[in-house]
Assembly symmetry: none
Homo-oligomer: 212 residues x 4
DNA sequence: GATGAATGAGTTTTCATTCAT
DNA sequence: GATGAATGAAAACTCATTCAT
């Protein structure tokens, strides 16, 4: 029944199966959007349907887990880059990493603003990411590398926006996001900034349910 | 050619029902994403399920019709604004209109890059929009209102991106997109532009199926 | 696909399909208990699975409908017998009818005291039956045909009890309930009644959730 | 022969686990009916699922074991009460014990007349119980404490019936069965018995599969 | 042309049972 | 012998689509 190396150890392989499932799910969601079925994910992972539900009792749990993995990775990147001397380069690297990560997770935009955000773990992870991004942003701001009216949450939001700008080109020009990242950075470091309308976003706004 | 006055000579009821359905579907997709069911759409429109299928033989046809209506509206806006003297203001107005239209169509981001793009009518409508946007953009470029390395397709793509940037704030701050539009405009009109990596997008890139 | 006379009229046959389903479900539950699957019921009725759910959105709704049909039938019997002159005979006939009806609904005992009782329609139907039975019982009581400390709810409860007493014999002696009905009637009309412990049941007790 | 001391010489753990499981299962079935899952039973017993299946290879085996324990207990009670002088009191005590035991086993009525009866051990245990009950009943009959046309199998059947009569009141009036036991005893000892229709039940009738 | 009942493939989810550790 | 991860058949339920009225 199993297409991979059959009859592997079980206890030890639970971790492996979990990763298998997350990878398969990320792929499936990228290809078919959120409509990807749990059954297909199981098949892609080379596991039985029941196993998916043992690891993630609900489709939403699986989605949350994917988001968490993505968010945690980004937060770690931000944390690492806080040490860098060149704050402008650090910010660019953070954004580049983030946008690329999103590109692998094309379901991202369907998930943002949907109930999975209500999983408190995801909310917390978003908040953490915004905090980490704010540290990075503050340093760049203080060094005059970017304008003063932009905060970390702005930067996090821009990741999704830049990704989305280039998304329709993904198939033919997978690197097109670089163009729009540069454009955004030009906006961020403009020497003659316009007065931005609307107050800067607060983290809580980001983590509040959109359906409320 | 025009969707709203399509196939003249038909009973007034049909035209009315068609509009009823498009409005209901737009609402439903905005609220529930692409998962909104044909049944719910029929109910919202106050019609029977069978009637939905008479007008749109397939859910995808309905989606395409919604996209077409949106795209046509934007194209008309662009065409109208080509007459304006203040090319910078015209561009800003076009983008503002486009972003607001997208906000009412939350399913947009789920649709972009999915099979409905394969409907040739939609492809054509996107191409038309890019042409109209290019006219608008060219004028602004020539007047020095924006940098020289941006074309109409860039502008069209930015609509989706700016919308997406603000999307997570939609519930709590529905006007937040204005902030990111201004930021993008700052990038577009920067006096010290960086060299944008990657070639500018061509229309065909946009209308090529992403799954291909 | 359909094993019966295919492609029948639809509007007119909705009533027929409903009856078909209730009959099939009654049969299926009698044979397999509450575990009978919606799929099997559909098959027995010669209809598609979806049709079962159109008529009864939930398995519990189907169960409730069956119970309602049974309860209504019994209430009508009780109402009719209230006119009878021979109150003892009337009571016996009511009980005989009730027990026989239960025998066709072997799932009855699994249903009693389970969540379907919480469907308010079922609760109301039970209450109605108890009222009707009380009228019948009161007349018998007043004529001295039965002892004075028995009320209508007692009689309704006894239906289930007498049915259950004979249930294990159903396969080999389908009429065995008559033996236990007579025994119960002997207890009801005893000339030397013992003082019954516990207060007589009130209708509300019967319709209160057992899981509370 | 006796279930609780089965296969002596095994590890103490196994005996303990077996009892743990039977208790947990009895509880679970009482609460959720036969739908109670093996998983929940394992959890209630504080054991792993695998252990449940080591003791009872099948859910049905577990059910049979529960029934056996119940039946054996009743048979022992009957045997003990055969020694009593007051045969009427002995019969009442036997019935009271039996009904109370049934009350703790709400799944009982779902089991009666279902395939588990096909386990020959259960069949044998039922036969044993009927024999023991007949001894008790015969003594009462001979002493004139009850009417002459009632046998032990009648009495066993009445246990289930009286339990079922009061079952809908279990939640609000857990002692209501006493009322119906007394009513039944009045019927059993009536001084003016009616001729009971149908022949008295034989043991074999009881233990024949109902689905056969 | 509108209606909504019927269809049945497809989805998520549960659970008895197996089996490597 | 105990454990609990994996399995996969089966269940309840959904929904796009068809078609008789």
């Amino acid at each position: 029944m199993n297409e991979t190396t059959a009859t592997p150890g079980q206890r030890a392989d639970m971790v492996r199966n979990r990763r298998l499932l997350l990878d398969a799910a990320t792929e499936a969601f990228a290809e078919h959007g959120l409509e990807a079925s749990m059954g297909e994910i199981a098949q892609r992972a080379g596991l039985a349907k029941g196993t998916v539900f043992r690891h993630f009792p609900t489709k939403e749990d699986l989605l949350s887990a994917i988001m968490l993995r993505l968010l945690d990775q980004l937060t770690r990147t931000a944390d690492r880059l806080c040490e860098a001397d060149d704050t402008a380069a650090a910010l660019r690297e953070f954004m580049a990493d983030g946008i690329e990560a999103l590109a692998a997770d094309r379901a991202f935009c369907e998930v943002i603003g949907r109930p999975s955000l209500q999983h408190s773990e995801v909310r917390d992870a978003i908040a953490d990411l915004c905090v980490a991004a704010e540290v990075l942003t503050a340093r760049a701001r203080e060094q005059g590398a970017i304008r003063g009216d932009i905060n970390g949450t702005d930067v996090v939001l821009l990741l999704g926006g830049i990704h989305q700008t280039a998304a329709p080109l993904l198939a033919t020009q997978p690197q097109a996001w670089r163009r729009y990242l540069e454009l955004a950075l030009d906006g961020l470091r403009t020497t003659s900034p316009s007065a931005l309308p609307h107050q800067p976003p607060l983290r809580p706004d980001l983590t509040t349910s959109v359906t409320g």
